[in-house]
């Protein structure tokens, strides 16, 4: 562990600097009106999605008892009206957010590990490894994402797990590109060069000196990938490729569209889950764009 002892000393200030930079990022996000709006909106969405179903549980078997309880507009008994089967739209809405969030988060986790990992290796080692990895990245970057996701879901099934995997495995290329270009410039910094000449191993340099410095960038990108993943899940479910057992906002819209809610003018059945998707995606994209504005070296932090 002599390399740890040696590298520890010069490593400390950089690591400390990174921590301070990270604290600064959150403060700047909070100071940016767009970022703060995103944080507020996210808090509301999380409250609705995580606490809502506990207060108003949804029972899919709770059908209407008569023909008059089908596709009813909002009333005191059903705040957001009823479905074509007489189920309560508001309760179904509260229950559906969890799957959208769950698929979004797990797909994003997969995409981040793949994208950041490949970007890190590619940018750090440069040379032939970089060339090969970036060729692969460019190939996947160019493939039309949603059509690819649809094909994979049609081939491999419609469970929540498959959906998360499929979206995650197709959402990483942009992240890899962004992280790589940042790592490429970091590795040329005098401090990293010095630590390397002191004999620090590649893994240690990446973990201690590179990763903390690209972490904020990963966070900014994470929020944007998350928005994309939630939109992709919604589109899949709307096209009938969602999990048939687990209700999600996309599934509700699929049912609404295919049960003639449109021609019956049942706006409450369409608007409720739709607004849920838009609010969740907007919260993350406000935060992501704000972080991007604050952090992106290309914008020089001017905005």
């Amino acid at each position: 562990m002599s390399d740890d002892a040696l590298a520890g000393a010069p490593g400390a200030p950089l690591a400390l600097g990174a921590t301070r930079a990270r604290a600064g990022v959150w403060r700047r996000l909070w100071r940016d009106p767009m970022g703060r709006a995103g944080v507020y909106l996210l808090a509301v969405v999380l409250l609705v999605v995580l606490v809502g179903p506990l207060v108003f549980p949804f029972n899919a078997q709770d059908f209407g008892t008569s023909a008059s309880s089908i596709l009813q507009p909002p009333s005191a008994a059903h705040w957001m009206g009823t479905t074509e089967l007489g189920q309560d739209v508001f309760r179904e809405f509260l229950a559906g957010g969890r799957i959208s969030l769950y698929v979004g988060l797990s797909a994003t986790l997969i995409a981040m590990v793949l994208g950041a990992g490949l970007g890190l290796v590619s940018g750090y080692y440069a040379g032939w490894r970089d060339t090969v990895l970036m060729r692969i990245t460019d190939f996947f970057l160019v493939l039309p994402t949603l059509p690819l996701i649809i094909v994979l879901a049609a081939l491999f099934g419609q469970s929540v797990l498959v959906t998360s995997l499929v979206i995650g495995l197709t959402s990483w290329p942009q992240t890899a590109r962004i992280i790589r270009s940042q790592v490429l410039s970091l590795r040329e910094r005098p401090l990293v060069q010095r630590v390397r000449s002191l004999g620090a191993g590649d893994l240690r340099i990446m973990r201690v000196h590179i990763l903390p410095n690209v972490a904020p960038l990963i966070f900014a990108n994470l929020a944007l990938v998350l928005s994309g993943a939630i939109l992709a899940q919604a589109a899949l479910a709307f096209l009938g490729l969602g999990d048939p057992v687990q209700v999600s906002w996309g599934t509700t819209l699929h049912n609404a569209f295919n049960s003639g809610a449109m021609s019956s003018g049942a706006w409450w059945y369409v608007l409720t889950p739709g607004v849920g998707i838009v609010a969740m995606v907007l919260a993350f994209s406000l935060i992501g764009h704000s972080l991007d504005r604050v952090l992106n070296p290309l914008h020089g932090g001017r905005s």
Partner: protein, 322 residues
């Protein structure tokens, strides 16, 4: 543009196309759960019928030979045979490609113009209330799923006001006269195209704004202003030209996005194009058609990126010199 640069680009293009074809083969013919094997393995066939089916699809050959046969078929433009329509996949797609081109082409033109104009307005009044409203508005529209935007438009212009047709490409019964027909298609085109514009213009307005804000503080812009040129001429004449480069790069990736949007929008508005074909072939498990459509989409995106790369090279003096 040097011949060497062009040669390298074409070689990369050829390699990408080859990898795409191989990737398709891997997806649809090799990976477990692929449709051909599922069909052959399902218990619905007698052993004799099963053997015949395996022979028909060439599954009795080693994988490598199957791959070569697949490559040969692709070279001959043979994309397989639809399970549902009982016609070659190319014939099935042939009827849909034109409709998608009309929809996506119209939407793209309007999207770029609207997006760039709003981006320029936002950038030339950077950090004002107008700028903030355009940015937040763009983000809001960007956050809407294409299919949901379409459904809202159906309520607004179809269900509640009956102002515009919301389904299909022609009114049944309207057949006489080229002019009447074109007008009818045009009316059907408005809402699906508007949906795509609303969702996608945001991307362009955000990129244009961000790039232009950075360009507007550069020395030559300041010089042009100092020379006495009006602010409007500097923004639209000088700065925008240079800000267009990132917009063009985005246009390459945008094609993939709008094709994803077309699947949703064509489904919502029953527009008989490639997107609706994909939706139907997923529902009916018509895998050869799904494979063909995906292949064509991939080719379209690769071709657009190739062209946008070349244009970038032609327009950017900095890249050209190297």
């Amino acid at each position: 543009m040097t011949a060497r640069y062009l040669g390298r680009k074409v070689a990369t293009l050829a390699l990408t196309l080859y990898v795409t074809v191989s990737f398709n083969f891997l997806l649809f013919h090799v990976l477990p759960g692929n449709p051909v094997q599922m069909l052959a393995r399902s218990g619905h066939f007698s052993p004799a019928a099963r053997a015949e089916l395996i022979h028909l699809f060439g599954l009795d050959h080693p994988l490598f030979v199957q791959y070569l046969i697949y490559l040969r078929n692709m070279l001959h433009g043979n994309l397989g045979f639809s399970y549902v329509y009982r016609e070659p996949v190319t014939t099935v797609m042939g009827g849909a490609i034109g409709n998608t081109l009309v929809l996506v082409g119209t939407a793209t033109l309007v999207t770029i113009v609207v997006g760039v104009v709003f981006g320029v307005i936002a950038a030339s009044r950077a950090h004002s209330l107008t700028d903030a409203s355009i940015t937040v508005g763009s983000l809001g529209l960007w956050s809407m799923p294409d299919f949901f935007t379409g459904m809202i438009l159906i309520f607004l212009f179809g269900v509640w006001t009956h102002a515009l047709p919301v389904s299909g490409i022609v009114t049944s019964g309207v057949t006489e006269g080229l002019w009447t027909h074109t007008l009818d298609v045009g009316r059907h085109l408005i809402l699906p195209a508007l949906t795509l514009v609303l969702v996608n213009a945001a991307e362009f307005s955000l990129i244009t704004r961000n790039t232009l804000v950075d360009v507007l503080v550069e020395d030559y812009v300041v010089t042009a202003r100092a020379k006495g040129l009006s602010r409007r001429r500097v923004v639209w004449g000088h700065a925008l030209r240079n800000a267009m480069l990132p917009v063009m790069t985005a246009a390459g990736l945008y094609v993939g996005m709008i094709l994803g949007g077309a699947i949703q929008v064509e489904t919502v508005f029953s527009w008989p194009g490639m997107g609706l074909l994909i939706y139907n072939s997923v529902e009916q498990r018509d895998y050869p058609v799904l494979e063909g459509c995906f292949f064509l989409f991939a080719i379209a995106v690769i071709a657009t990126n190739f062209i946008s790369d070349l244009l970038y090279h032609l327009l950017d003096a900095r890249v050209r010199r190297t």
